[in-house]
C-alpha cells in the first residue's frame, strides 16, 4: 500500500485544482473561491522500558494535508502520512519499516447542503469511529496511542480503514442530531493492507453504512453504529467480510468519555467456518478548569482478540493494554504527552513502558 508517488501527485493535484478552479455557481458574498489550505501534524515518541534499559526513539509521523474549497459546493482534499519506524519493539509500527509514505485520503466532494455530502476517491471507511474522527493525526487525539482497532492496515491493523469509492453522508434536521453515511466502493485486496483501486479489473465490491445520533436533550452525548460488507479474494480462498461497530461518547465541560466495540467476521465461501475478530477500547479523560486547563489526564483501555488460525490476519497481534498519562497543551500548536503503558505483545509476555510524545500542528 506504499504509494509515495501517488501521495505526492495527490497533493499536487489539489494544489493545481485550487489554482485553476473557476466557481461554477454564484458564491455568497464575503466568501472567495478557491480557498486553499495546507497543514500538517507531526509527532515523535520516546519510550523507556520500566524494567530498565535505555530511552529509545519509538517512532514518528508527519501527516500532511491540503484542502481546496473550489466553489460554494465543490471541494477537494488530500492527505499523506509519512512514518518513521524507530528502534523499539512496538506493535504499532512495523519493525522492518524505516520510512513509509502512504496516501491516506484523496477525494473530491460535492456538498450542496448539510443533508448531503458526496465524496468520491480514496476515503476513510468510517467503520471505526476513532479513525473517522481523528483520522491519522495523533496531535488531535488525547492519548499517545491509537487503539488497536483503529490501527492503520500497514501498522498491523485488522479493520479496513481505507477504500476507493463513493461516500454519501449528511445530517437529518431535528433535535435528535441524526447523521447518516452510505458508501460503495472496492473491497480490500488479497493482502490485508491492499487498497484496491476502483477501476482495477476483477475487484470485488464493498458496502458501508453509518448512523449516529447526538440529541439536543443530552448535550455532548453521541452514539452510533457502522457496518461494512465486502468480499476478499485472498490467495487460495474467497471470503465474505462482515464488520459491525457500535460506539458512544460523552464530551462536555472538560469530560471526555469514549468507547467503541468492533466485530469482524470472515467466512470462507463454501465453508462452515467463521473467523471472528473482536476489539474494543475505552478512553476517559478530563480537562480541569482554571490554571490547570492546559492539562488533560487520561486513561485508555485497549483490547484486541484476533481470530485464531486466520491466515489473512496472520501478522495482526492480540492486544491487551492500558495506559495512564497526561496531555499538556503547551500552546495551541504544541502538545506534550507522557504516560505509563503496559501491553501484551504475545501471551504471556507483557511489557511496561514509560513514554513521552511531542506533537504539534502547523
Amino acid at each position: 500500500m506504499n504509494r509515495p508517488f501517488g501521495a505526492a501527485l495527490a497533493l499536487i493535484g489539489v494544489l493545481l485544482c485550487a489554482l485553476s478552479a473557476r466557481a461554477d455557481d454564484a458564491p455568497p458574498p464575503a466568501v472567495h473561491y478557491p480557498a486553499f489550505r495546507l497543514g500538517a501534524f507531526a509527532d515523535i515518541v520516546l519510550s523507556h522500558p520500566s524494567e530498565g534499559g535505555a530511552v529509545e526513539y519509538e517512532g514518528g509521523e508527519m501527516d500532511l494535508y491540503a484542502s481546496a474549497q473550489i466553489s460554494n459546493n465543490w471541494s477537494a482534499f488530500a492527505e499523506a502520512l509519512i512514518q518513521h519506524g524507530g528502534k523499539a519493539e512496538n506493535v504499532d509500527l512495523e519493525r522492518d519499516a524505516r520510512f513509509d509514505t502512504n496516501l491516506e485520503r484523496f477525494y473530491a466532494a460535492y456538498n450542496p447542503s448539510d443533508r448531503l455530502r458526496l465524496e468520491i476517491g480514496q476515503i476513510h471507511t468510517g467503520i471505526v469511529q476513532w479513525n473517522e474522527r481523528e483520522h491519522r493525526s495523533r496531535f488531535l487525539q488525547t492519548p499517545i496511542d491509537v487503539p488497536s482497532i483503529a490501527n492503520r492496515e500497514s501498522q498491523g491493523g485488522a479493520w479496513p480503514l481505507h477504500f476507493d469509492g463513493a461516500w454519501a453522508s449528511g445530517r437529518v434536521p431535528g433535535a435528535l442530531g441524526a447523521e447518516y453515511g452510505v458508501g460503495v466502493g472496492a473491497a480490500r485486496g488479497s493482502e490485508r493492507d491492499d487498497i484496491q483501486p476502483l477501476f482495477r479489473r476483477g475487484i470485488s465490491p464493498a458496502g458501508l453504512f453509518l448512523v449516529s445520533v447526538a440529541p439536543d436533550a443530552l448535550t455532548g452525548f453521541e452514539a452510533g453504529a457502522a457496518g461494512y460488507v465486502g468480499r476478499i479474494r485472498a490467495p487460495g480462498q474467497t471470503m465474505q467480510e462482515l464488520d459491525a461497530t457500535v460506539f458512544s461518547s460523552f464530551v462536555r465541560g472538560g469530560v471526555e468519555l469514549r468507547g467503541e466495540f468492533a466485530r469482524m467476521a470472515h467466512t470462507p465461501l463454501g465453508a462452515d467456518q467463521e473467523f471472528v475478530t473482536r476489539g474494543w477500547y475505552v478512553l476517559a479523560s478530563w480537562r480541569p478548569r482554571g490554571r490547570l486547563k492546559a492539562f488533560r489526564p487520561y486513561f485508555l483501555l485497549d483490547h484486541l482478540h484476533v481470530a485464531p488460525g486466520e491466515q489473512y490476519l496472520s501478522d495482526v497481534h492480540n492486544q491487551n493494554a492500558w495506559s495512564a498519562g497526561v496531555r499538556w497543551d503547551f500552546n495551541r500548536r504544541l502538545a506534550l504527552k507522557g504516560d505509563f503503558r503496559t501491553q501484551q505483545l504475545a501471551a504471556p509476555h507483557r511489557e511496561s513502558l514509560i513514554r513521552a510524545e511531542v506533537s504539534f500542528s502547523f
Binding site: P28, P29, A30, V31, A35, R37, G39, F41, Y65, S67, Q69, N72, S75, F77, R105, Y107, A109, P112, S113, D114, R117, E119, R133, E134, H135, S137, L140, R171, A175, G177, D216, T219, G220, R252, G253, G254, R287, P288, R289, G290, R291, L292, K293, A294, D329, R332, S361
Partner: protein, 162 residues
C-alpha cells in the same frame, strides 16, 4: 495521634482547588446577531451549538454560514464556551483544527476583536452570525436572535449565566 494523609487525596484536593481559581465575572447573557438581511429570527440552542461547531454549515438558502466569534478570553467568549459549546478554549480551537482536517469545513471562525467591529462585520455580511455581550443593543444593520423564542433579557433565556 498522627493522621496519615494519602498522597492521591492531597493531589486531587490541590487539583480541584487550582481548578476553581482564575475565573472572572461573565456577563448576564450573550446575544447572537445576524445581518438584518438574514431572514432568521429565532434559533434553537441545539442548532446554535451545531452552527458554532460547524455541524450546520448552511443557511436555508444554501449559502454557507460565516462564523464570527469574540476572543475566547473575553467575558462573552467564556460564557459562549461554558453555556453553548461546553468546551474549554483549547478544546474549541482543536475542534476546529479537526473539523478542517476532516475536510468538512474550509476555515475556522474568524475572531473579531471588539463589539463595535463585530456589529459592523455582521451587518456587512448577510451570511454571518456572531455574538456580543448582552444587554448591548446594536443600532442598525443587525438583528438579535431569540433562542427558543426567548430574548436575551428573558430570565429563561438558554444562554444566561446562572
Amino acid at each position: 495521634m498522627a493522621m496519615r494523609v494519602c498522597p492521591l487525596t492531597v493531589a486531587i484536593v490541590l487539583l480541584l482547588a487550582a481548578s476553581s481559581q482564575g475565573e472572572e465575572p461573565v456577563p448576564a447573557s450573550i446575544s447572537f446577531v445576524v445581518s438584518a438581511k438574514n431572514p432568521m429570527r429565532d434559533v434553537s440552542a441545539g442548532d446554535l451549538r451545531r452552527i458554532f461547531l460547524g455541524d450546520i454549515s448552511r443557511w436555508r438558502n444554501g449559502h454557507r454560514v460565516i462564523l464570527f466569534v469574540r476572543p475566547m478570553d473575553t467575558a462573552e467568549g467564556r460564557l459562549f464556551l461554558d453555556h453553548l459549546v461546553h468546551m474549554s478554549d483549547i478544546d474549541y480551537s482543536q475542534w476546529w483544527l479537526g473539523a478542517v482536517f476532516r475536510g468538512r469545513v474550509a476555515n475556522a471562525p474568524r475572531v473579531i476583536g471588539s463589539v463595535e467591529e463585530m456589529v459592523r462585520a455582521v451587518a456587512a455580511t448577510p451570511d454571518a452570525i456572531g455574538f456580543i455581550a448582552a444587554p448591548t443593543t446594536p443600532d442598525t444593520g443587525v438583528i438579535i436572535l431569540t433562542v427558543e423564542g426567548k430574548a436575551p433579557a428573558d430570565p429563561h433565556y438558554a444562554l444566561r449565566a446562572r
